[in-house]
């Protein structure tokens, strides 16, 4: 590491983002010593999942200025798809055991969930938001917000009417014993899901930074007219963005089927959590969503550990509110803020 980059690191450590991240890590370690390493393990495992959800919300806001209140419903679509792929396969496997098939069943389900979620995203964009883009841009932020509330209501109730109210879930993905980290036991499903989340995040980061699609998305996010001026078909980029964001939500939904069985209102908790994250780290800050996910997870684990169940909605809320007072644009706030200051 040369001097300039170490200077950069030190500078970053002094910024609000750096301080918070450092504090988070310190708190995590301190609590782990006090209460046992499960705090750390739990934070990592749940944090990865929340990060995946938050990335989608953040992406939609950053690129399209849509504050998506229906994000949890794409999570629901994902879990529903995964269920309808995995369940018949599992039934079939009961009669005709097949090691390979039982190994890849969950993977098929999760991949299917992501694909269906992405398609649902494209459909949403083409049927609703493309219409709105064509018609008027005035009051865009709030119009879109209300529209997503409408989408949420529709999707929840369509699920209820078509697929019923039952809890459609699976017991586990792979019927194997938990793995042990020290004296903490974590199920294999969770470890794999954490792996999926991390892989998805890395892939996404690569996509955004180094592919032409990612560059286009970033270009549109930074300046829509500029993007049109260099010949980018913005409508296509918007649809792709929607597909990506919803695909991520559905991927999270599919991966978490073992924990969140599919039912109409399953998306509410993931939605709230992803919103807490993006507010904490700053709107449209896609990269910040990842540390944000772990931070929120830590907040909640710590609150539960010290205050008891049920407080995890009270104390972290006050904490985020406090942080907002001192960093009004989130802890990783960038200088570009005109986008959401409407």
């Amino acid at each position: 590491m040369n001097d300039s980059s170490s200077a950069k690191v030190i500078e970053w450590l002094k910024s609000a983002g750096g301080i918070t991240v450092t504090c988070t890590i310190l708190v995590a370690i301190a609590v782990s010593f006090h209460k046992g390493p499960y705090v750390l393990v739990n934070t990592l495992v749940t944090g990865g999942m929340w990060a995946l959800m938050a990335i989608g919300v953040s992406l939609l806001f950053g690129v399209m200025n849509i504050s998506n209140f229906a994000h949890g419903e794409y999570f629901m679509i994902g879990s529903l798809t995964a269920y309808y792929i995995m369940n018949p396969l599992k039934q079939y496997l009961l009669e005709t055991p097949n090691d390979f098939l039982s190994f890849i069943t969950p993977i098929l389900g999760i991949a299917g969930a992501a694909i269906v979620g992405a398609i649902a995203g494209i459909v949403t964009d083409k049927t609703i938001f493309a219409q709105l883009r064509k018609r008027n841009r005035e009051g865009w932020l709030l119009n879109c917000f209300l529209i997503t509330i409408g989408i949420q209501i529709i999707l929840i109730n369509v699920h209820m009417l078509v697929f019923g109210n039952t809890f459609k879930g699976v017991v586990n993905y792979w019927d194997v014993p938990s793995v042990a980290f020290g004296d903490v036991y974590v199920s294999v499903d969770r470890v794999v899901v954490f792996g999926i989340a991390m892989a998805a995040i890395v892939l996404f980061w690569y996509l955004m930074m180094y592919t032409s699609l990612g560059k286009k998305i970033r270009a549109v996010a930074q300046d829509e007219n500029g993007a049109r001026m260099v010949g980018i078909q913005v409508n296509g980029v918007y649809s792709t963005t929607f597909a990506l964001a919803c695909g991520f939500a559905a991927l999270a939904g599919g991966s978490l089927l073992f924990m969140f069985p599919s039912y109409p209102t399953v998306g509410v908790a993931p939605l709230y959590n992803s919103w807490f994250i993006i507010i904490l780290v700053g709107f449209g800050n896609v990269a910040g969503a990842v540390p944000g996910g772990f931070m929120i997870a830590l907040f909640q684990v710590v609150t539960r550990t010290y205050m008891g169940e049920g407080w995890e909605n009270v104390i972290p809320m006050f904490l985020i509110a406090m942080i907002l007072i001192f960093k009004p644009y989130g802890i990783f706030a960038t200088k570009v803020r005109s986008v959401w200051e409407q």
């Binding site: 529709i154 109730n157 009417l161 507010i279 049920g310 007072i325």
Partner: protein, 345 residues
Amino acid sequence: MTQLTQDNSTGFSGILGKICLSPMGLAGLAILFLLPLVPPFNQDYMIRWLISGAIVAAAAVAFDFSAGYLGIVNFGYAAFIGLGAYTSAIISNKIGISPFITIFAGALVSAGLGVLTGIVSLRLRGMFAICFTWFIGIALMGLCLKLDWLTRGPLGLQCDGFFEGNSSLPYYYLILAIMIFTYLVLGLMIRSDYGLAFRAIGQNMEAAMTSGVHPTKYRVINFTMSCFFAGLIGGFYGHYYGILTPELLHTQKTVEVLVIAYIGGRSSLWGGIVAAFPFIFAMELLRSSLSDLPGINLIIYGVFLIAIMVYYPGGVAQFFKNLTARKQRSTSSTAQKAKTAEAGV
């Protein structure tokens, strides 16, 4: 109630105009007053619907006061309503004073939290301010669940009614009075210099600051007023339905008010009132006549919401504005037409 300020500030409508009413608005109010006396609206369930409509209407007016003018959507609005409701219910249960007094206590406590929120959220803009209020709402609801020695948590807090007897009619006139009171007070605020300042801050805070408008003062005043009325309406809610559960503070309830306020039309105040009554009636009728397929009424609601936002985001207020504009245009000469066209630019 339409406060389209035309030049006709003379005579009767001029006097009405001073208190933010138009002949049409007055007629509407008269209808609301007489409606529960006319069949089929004189049945108790119809009056109940009217009360629901009036509660939402009043809440939408107070909500629009900060969302429409200041540009800050109070996403924890239901929590402010709930805070008023719980305060009033707890005081009246513990000390045993009349609910007529305690609802003002509830309103004051809500307003107090409004002051705090206003001050604390001063530095926040746009979505951050919205989410800040949202978090306050979530935290309040969590507290309401956890502090069960005070609120009885999920068991539900029972409270006394305003009136003896079974009829809902006196309650209707009470909430109607609260609604009109809310509208008139907030309408007069908007008419005054304050309204101008609110708009200025809402449109561009920095510009407003440079032109000498002090945002701190105005934002706090706005929040306080809005929350005061939220608390007042909450107090009524509690003493009317007789039971309060933490669910009242849920974000879903904010969304219900927000939708009415937006369908009514942003920054109009009266739009919410015009939208609330038909909306509540339509929703109840849909729910009741499609009871074999529960949930389908909500799907229709969702589709309607999306359609409005895509095709008619101005809402009811825009509709009436277009209506009056058309009337004007058809009576005026072509020269005037050109003039309006130019003025429209």
